[in-house]
């Protein structure tokens, strides 16, 4: 895995600012909680535009860090990934756990979904066991109220022994109180109790014995002893490894005790502990919450319709179709406007003769204009809509309905969105695979996306085949491309290590996404994409045009002749075209025109048109796609995906050349 952006490393940011504001007291707050409880909303409300989104060092997990000045405090806020537990089966859980235990934020704000208190408290109790300062923030009390749930925060506070604040973050309600509570907490104006979560007698006895054993050995483990003891009894593999380095005896003892618990309860010990923790959460919830019967709400009705066995598919189709239509219609419109505006200043057709500096200039400007007119107009409307359907909860329903179909290539229903987006542009599509849970799923989806006929590939297919051969062959290429996605998807499923984790997804209630959240998400996503793509477009285009004019490409092209001429049956110039295409696929067509003028039928045979188009759409993801692959999955995976594309294109191209020569 690769460390991607230096901006992701929060410590630098913190220290730099610490220097600037010497008179302010410094504070670090972490937001922790289940997925989709409104953590990000609170984060956005508190930090405004003052935030940095990057990755956790060495991990492809998003890390958002922001800043807030409040009552004489300079507050750093970290938004931890949404998790359900502190077991060690996902990167997100490990990242959160290590951050809280090692970096020791001054306060952890545990954001809790008021409508699902019991399940959320399961995590709260694990946070309390980590013995860090906690404030529980009961969010979305408005949605809970719609469901007839009212929570008594005083009772909850008494039961948990930590401060509890109720909020409706989307409307900013309660956030000021939340921050006041944070300040009161750090200035010791709030009474808190020590962790009083106690399990059943048999478990408790053994937790106690194990903690004592660790105390007597004076082990230095960075986590609280009690917490370690519980994790050992839960057979947590990471914690076992950690303790083993200090004391084999403790681990041995914990195995024995876990077995004793298993014999007493007739259940694996991790399951005993989880059950007891849940029954505690259940008791606390029952004591602090009043649930009244109410009639079925509108959102409930909509929910039933969205997962209906007939209407569910209709709604899914509308959502996906609407997303695409919206993206392409709005995108085309904006793209047209921008192209006209820029065409006014500078012609941007690739230039292959003239002075070197003129050509480099032409390349750089051409790249910039292409980036602005081809990528941005499509990406922004797409992200706006994606963010809306993601935040509203419709996406989970679409994923629910589409799960079966996507299973054929080892993906969940959710993967449909990135895959379809790949038809527009691969780069944001791969970026949006972040909506999937595991790295394996993201990788499989990204792999499939690299074959999707994006807008640039469509230009190649239409420009070469539909114009100079016929429409049917162009259509056939689309079909072949779909088959390639499906077949390679299935092969990748077998090759990529790891098993398909089954779908376990929370179905949140529908809610109306707020404009500010959508705007912020869109901006953050678009920004990170522009930083990645524009430099590649500008410098890549200028660089490759310069190489050509300097006569460096031709020898390479000649060296490729056995492949291009003998195996694929293309003219020698194909080497140059394909090198250009590595930056931007539509270049293959544009360069051909630049070399030979518009009547290409004089230069290439129909077979050559089809083979060239086929190879062109498959042979490499474009440079921007490779860059985003590397950012998300590391250079090794990016390299392997690129190699797989290349081999597929060459093999299919060679076969197509031989078969087509029989027909024509």
């Amino acid at each position: 895995m690769v460390e991607t952006s230096g901006k992701g490393k929060g410590h630098k940011y913190r220290h730099r600012n610490r220097g600037k504001n010497r008179n302010l007291k410094h504070l670090t707050i972490a937001l922790a909680g289940n997925a989709n409880v409104g953590k990000s909303v609170i984060f956005n409300e508190l930090t405004g535009s003052n935030q940095i989104v990057g990755n956790w060092p060495g991990k492809t997990i998003e890390r958002a860090e922001g800043k807030l000045f409040f009552n004489g405090y300079d507050v750093d806020i970290i938004d931890l990934p949404g998790i359900y537990s502190f077991s060690t089966f996902s990167m997100e859980e490990i990242v959160s756990r290590e951050y809280i235990a090692f970096e020791k934020p001054d306060v952890v704000i545990n954001v809790v979904d008021a409508a699902v208190l019991e399940r959320n408290l399961f995590f709260t109790m694990q946070l309390i066991e980590l013995e860090v300062p906690i404030i529980v923030c009961i969010n979305q009390i408005d949605i809970a109220k719609q469901k007839g749930i009212v929570i008594d925060t005083d009772k909850l506070q008494a039961a948990l022994g930590v401060p509890v604040v109720a909020t409706v973050a989307v409307r900013g309600e309660g956030l000021h109180e939340l921050m006041d509570t944070v300040i009161d907490y750090v200035e010791n104006r709030i009474e808190t109790r020590k962790n009083e979560i106690r399990y059943g007698f048999e478990v408790e006895k053994r937790v106690d014995m194990l903690s004592r054993l660790m105390v007597s050995k004076n082990l230095d483990l960075k986590y609280p002893y009690r917490w370690i003891a519980i994790k050992l009894l839960e057979n947590d593999p990471e914690i076992i490894k950690l303790v083993e380095n200090s004391s084999k005896e403790v681990v041995q003892k914990s195995y024995e005790m876990a077995r004793e618990i298993e014999e007493i309860h007739n259940e694996p010990s991790f399951s005993v502990i989880a059950s007891e923790r849940y029954s505690l959460a259940n008791q606390i919830t029952a004591g602090a919450q009043v649930q009244s019967e109410i009639k079925i709400s509108f959102s409930e009705r909509l929910d039933r319709l969205a997962t209906d066995r007939v209407f569910g598919y209709v709604i899914s189709a509308i959502v996906i179709g609407g997303l695409l239509l919206w993206t392409f219609v709005v995108g085309n419109f904006l793209s047209g406007l921008l192209t006209e505006a820029f065409g006014f200043f500078q012609p941007v057709d690739p230039q292959v003769s003239g002075t070197l500096s003129a050509i480099i200039w032409n390349g750089a400007v051409g790249g910039l204009v292409a980036g602005i007119t081809l990528i941005i107009p499509f990406v922004i409307p797409f992200y706006i809509m994606l963010s809306a359907i993601e935040n509203s909860g419709i996406l989970t329903r679409v994923a629910f309905m589409m799960d079966t179909a996507m299973h054929k290539i080892g993906l969940h229903g959710k993967a449909l969105i990135p895959l379809i987006l790949g038809y527009g542009c691969n780069v944001p599509a791969i970026d949006s695979t972040r909506i999937l849970e595991t790295r394996r799923e993201r990788l499989l989806a990204a792999f499939a996306i690299t074959f999707a006929p994006c807008a640039a590939r469509t230009i190649v297919i239409l420009g070469l085949v539909a114009v100079f051969v016929n429409v049917w062959w162009a259509l056939a290429l689309y079909v072949i491309d779909l088959l390639v996605i499906f077949l390679l998807g299935r092969i990748a499923l077998k090759v990529v290590p790891g098993e398909s984790t089954g779908l376990i997804m929370e179905m949140h209630s529908f809610k109306l996404p707020t404009l500010s959240i959508i705007a912020k998400q869109t901006w953050v996503r678009t920004k990170s994409l522009i930083y990645l793509v524009l430099p590649i477009y500008i410098f890549g285009t200028a660089f490759i045009q310069a190489l050509y004019v300097l006569g460096i490409l031709e020898p390479i092209s000649n060296a490729l002749a056995p492949l291009t001429v003998w195996w694929l049956g293309l003219p020698v110039i194909a080497g140059v075209l394909l090198i250009f295409g590595a930056i931007r696929k539509e270049f293959i067509l544009l360069m051909l025109v630049a070399f030979y003028g518009t009547n290409l039928a004089l230069v290439l045979t129909p077979v050559q048109f089809i083979v060239l188009a086929l190879v062109a759409i498959l042979y490499l993801p474009c440079a921007s796609t490779i860059a985003v692959l590397a950012r998300e999955f590391g250079w090794k995976s990016a390299g392997m995906i690129t190699a797989a594309n290349f081999i597929t294109a060459i093999v299919l191209g060679g076969i197509a050349f031989r078969l087509l020569s029989l027909i024509y």
Partner: protein
């Protein structure tokens, strides 16, 4: 082969087909059975009456038969053995798919409970047979496969059998409730389910079942979860009356 074992073999085949045609215990018509077993409707009727006498089915003339609790239990046991054997023949012995059914049919009647358990361990608790049908849960008194592995040393007799019939949540009808009683699969699956609140003893109700072997939406501890078909087929519940909770 002596006569009585031939009879019991025949009974088991009937129960198996009844279970296959309706895993969630709905009426199966005589003609359906006759088509599937390729036996004349008259003989099927005769056999169903005999099964009714033995309290394995409730038989109503012209309508068909419903498995009783006892009948369902027996039917699941033999179906489980059949599908486990198919997995074994296919995965371990690499026998061609078109031959495994017949072979499993022959072997299922003589497979002991201990051998069945050992087979399940060997195959790492499979949840589906090669034909993609769900393998019914075992009837040992365990709450999870993990527990069965922990207590490997104990004999089947020592462990004891479960009294109640369990239902996988994929076979539970929409809006029905159940108490989670058994979770199949390795500890990773169990842990993920535990974290989300699906613990042994938790009350879970099925909200929606997506068509075409799609995921199942369940409500548990006040939250709604979508479980993929494979995972859902590994969660078994004891049916609970609606007023129960």
């Amino acid at each position: 082969m002596n006569e009585s074992s031939a009879i019991s073999k025949n009974i088991e085949e009937y129960l198996e087909i009844l279970y296959k045609l309706s895993p969630n215990g709905e009426q199966v018509s005589t003609s359906q059975i006759s088509e599937n077993l390729k036996i004349s409707p008259a003989s099927v009727t005769q056999m169903l009456k005999k099964l009714a006498d033995m309290k394995y089915v409730e038989y109503s003339p012209y309508k068909g038969a419903i498995l009783t609790d006892t009948g369902l239990k027996l039917a699941k046991r033999v179906t489980r053995k059949h599908r486990l054997l198919e997995r074994f023949l296919c995965d371990v012995l690499k026998i061609k798919k078109n031959k495994i059914h017949q072979q499993a049919c022959e072997m299922e009647h003589s497979l002991s409970d201990d051998a069945e358990r050992a087979l399940c361990h060997l195959l790492e608790q499979p949840n589906k047979c090669p034909g993609d049908n769900v393998i019914p849960e075992c009837d040992l008194k365990f709450t999870s496969c993990e527990e069965c592995l922990i207590q490997k040393e104990e004999d089947v007799e020592e462990v004891g059998k479960r009294n109640q019939n369990l239902v996988s949540i994929i076979d539970l009808k929409e809006q029905k409730k159940g108490k989670v009683s058994f979770i199949r699969g390795d500890h990773k699956v169990i842990r993920r389910l535990l974290d989300m609140g699906i613990t042994i003893g938790a009350i879970i109700s099925v909200m929606k079942v997506a068509p075409l072997c799609g995921p199942v939406e369940v409500a548990v501890r006040g939250s709604k979860l979508a479980l993929g078909h494979d995972i859902a087929s590994n969660v078994f519940v004891e049916a609970v009356e609606d007023e129960g909770c």
